[in-house]
């Protein structure tokens, strides 16, 4: 099986805070990590390869520093990794990101399965996977929490929906996005770490992939961020003090006044 896993480098904490006095972001001490959901995608790719044979290639679109993250994917079991990086990719929204990732997949030839994380923790859109699937004309299934079977060009998966779960059968090639219930990612192996140290991570540019410069990066993005601000909480709780019995009686009184209990 030829598997591609898409990973994004994100700020290493979602506790990105804003300094209330200057209204600026506090960036100190935040380092970049693999998007947590993408670790599950990588692990699942590696497990499938171990079961069915084949190859796992990790890809990421991002600035040059994402090479470090891609080396890490080698230590976690990826066979190869490719960085898609070009000045022209800067400022990409989900559409342009999906277009670029799809371009890389096409360049690789015969791919059976593309695994994405459920969503990224910074962009948080969960759109890149389904957009890429459509661009590749591949089957798409979101929120996969278990791969039940793969055989004869078909796969059967379990996926989580709002009201319960579904069993879906689909053709290959397919794009799936995975949830954290799907597996428990392994730690890097010693052999993997050695391998990752010497691994060469090729960098593919716009030209390498033969992409349309009007469809990548900011040029290819249909959306524009026009404003960024911090959500304000101006409520402050009315504190109810006293012994638990008193707190409870007082609370129930207030709720009853409001017709809530």
């Amino acid at each position: 099986m030829n598997i591609v896993v898409c990973l994004k480098q994100v700020p290493g904490t979602t506790e990105v805070k804003i300094n209330p006095e200057t209204n600026t972001l506090i960036r100190q001490g935040i380092k970049n990590i693999i998007n947590p959901f993408d670790s599950y995608a990588l692990e699942e790719g590696v497990r499938l390869k171990e079961k069915f044979g084949g190859k796992v290639t990790a890809i990421s679109m991002g600035p040059a520093q994402a090479v470090d993250m891609l080396k890490e994917t080698i230590s976690l079991g990826a066979d190869e990794a490719v960085l898609l990086s070009d000045r022209a990719f800067a400022g990409a929204d989900t559409w342009a990101t999906a277009y670029t990732l799809a371009g890389a997949v096409r360049k690789m030839g015969q791919i059976d399965l593309i695994i994405c994380g459920r969503q990224s923790t910074d962009g948080d859109t969960a759109q890149v996977g389904p957009e890429m699937a459509e661009m590749l004309g591949a089957a798409f299934t979101a929120y996969v929490c278990q791969i039940e079977e793969i055989s004869a060009g078909q796969m059967r998966v379990k996926r989580m929906m709002d009201e319960g779960y579904e069993i879906i059968q689909s053709t290959l090639p397919a794009v799936i996005t995975v949830t954290k219930e799907i597996n428990i990612p392994r730690l890097p192996s010693l052999r993997g770490v050695m391998k990752s140290k010497s691994a060469k991570i090729p960098i593919w540019t716009l030209q390498d992939m033969g992409l349309d410069p009007k469809k990548v990066g900011l040029n290819g993005s249909f959306t524009r961020v026009v404003k960024i601000f911090t959500p304000q909480h101006d409520k402050k709780a009315e504190m109810i003090h006293g012994e638990p019995e008193i707190q409870v009686t007082c609370l129930l009184g207030k709720l009853r006044e409001g017709g809530l209990a």
């Binding site: 506090i26 800067a90 759109q127 389904p130 929906m161 709780a237």
Partner: protein, 392 residues
Amino acid sequence: MAIKINPEKCTLCSICVNTCPFGALELKEDKIVVNDRCTLCGACQEACPSEAITLEETQKTAVSSEHKGVWVFAEQRDGKVKSVSLELLAKARELAAGLKTEVCAVCFGHGVQDLQQLITHGADKVFLVDSPDLSSNPEDYLTAQLSNLIQQYKPEIVLAGATALGRSFIPRVAAKVSCGLTADCTGLEIDIEKRQLLQTRPTFGGNIMATIICPSSRPQMATVRPRTFKKNAPDGGRQGQIIKLDFNKEGITAHSQLLKFVEDVSEKVKLDEADVIVAGGRGVGKTENFQLIAELAAALGAALGSSRPPVDEGWLPYSHQVGQTGKTVAPKLYIACGISGAVQHLAGMQTADTIVAINSDPSAPIFDIATYGLVGDLFKIVPLLTQQLKRE
């Protein structure tokens, strides 16, 4: 478009470097450089005290004026229209009033009940595609069908619920019709002059809000979480038209097929429709203790919610999780027991009308957004509450 930094005005104060939410600006020796992470959001321009930063617009692509109408994807399950679609119709009315255009609901399914409610809740037209092939929401068909309708009728705006289904197939539609799409919006407004939809959404796990536009593509597409907007009271006097369209599956490749659906039955009261929710967090400690929370919920006729740790620990199924990666709820009353109030949790419940927080730590951030705060041990307070409620 590009960012220009005027070296003559720049004092290297680095306020822009710290302001940039994407880490796109760096101070390198004697100048500020912009790296690939820049999304041209303009935060640096606003922050610069020396007016050294400008955003240069390249020529704008004109937007066709052919596109008209605000559409709402009316999602159904088992023939019932979802509440989020009615909420979106209310918002669509507001947007359409600004744009002086009409509101259309688009509904795919088989034998969908009470289509009239789409009209009484705000639609001027309902496009209905009725076919047994559509009853279980096969996403390949939905993608093709909605894309076709968009290409044929050219709406100006398309809204859909950010449900599991919406988040899964709407991006495919956006890819197919080559349009911008904004996920999980919490605010929608219209810039009437430019006929632009201002889409506000949380990013960075709810720490930051971003307002996004689609300047050059139509339709402007957005998904919105359930319970973000309020539905209108049904207006029986509203007139509207139901237009039936044929479903033609020839030429659509169905890659996927639903074999089985298993409903999560541990949810007695549906979270996203509940008026009262009692939720427990890590402070509840273990599976067995959730019984206390469940008893209080039962005494109030409430749904049972949870922060993420109890779900991660396997104390409760995922369907109970409230927050950024769980459900968004907006009940009349939300009682949070042993929940600290992390932004990712607040993202899913902060619009509740009344929030009661029970927490032993007086500095827990949940008290910043709660209506009533009780500092104390949930193992004492919660059973007492249940008792008093039962006594009545």
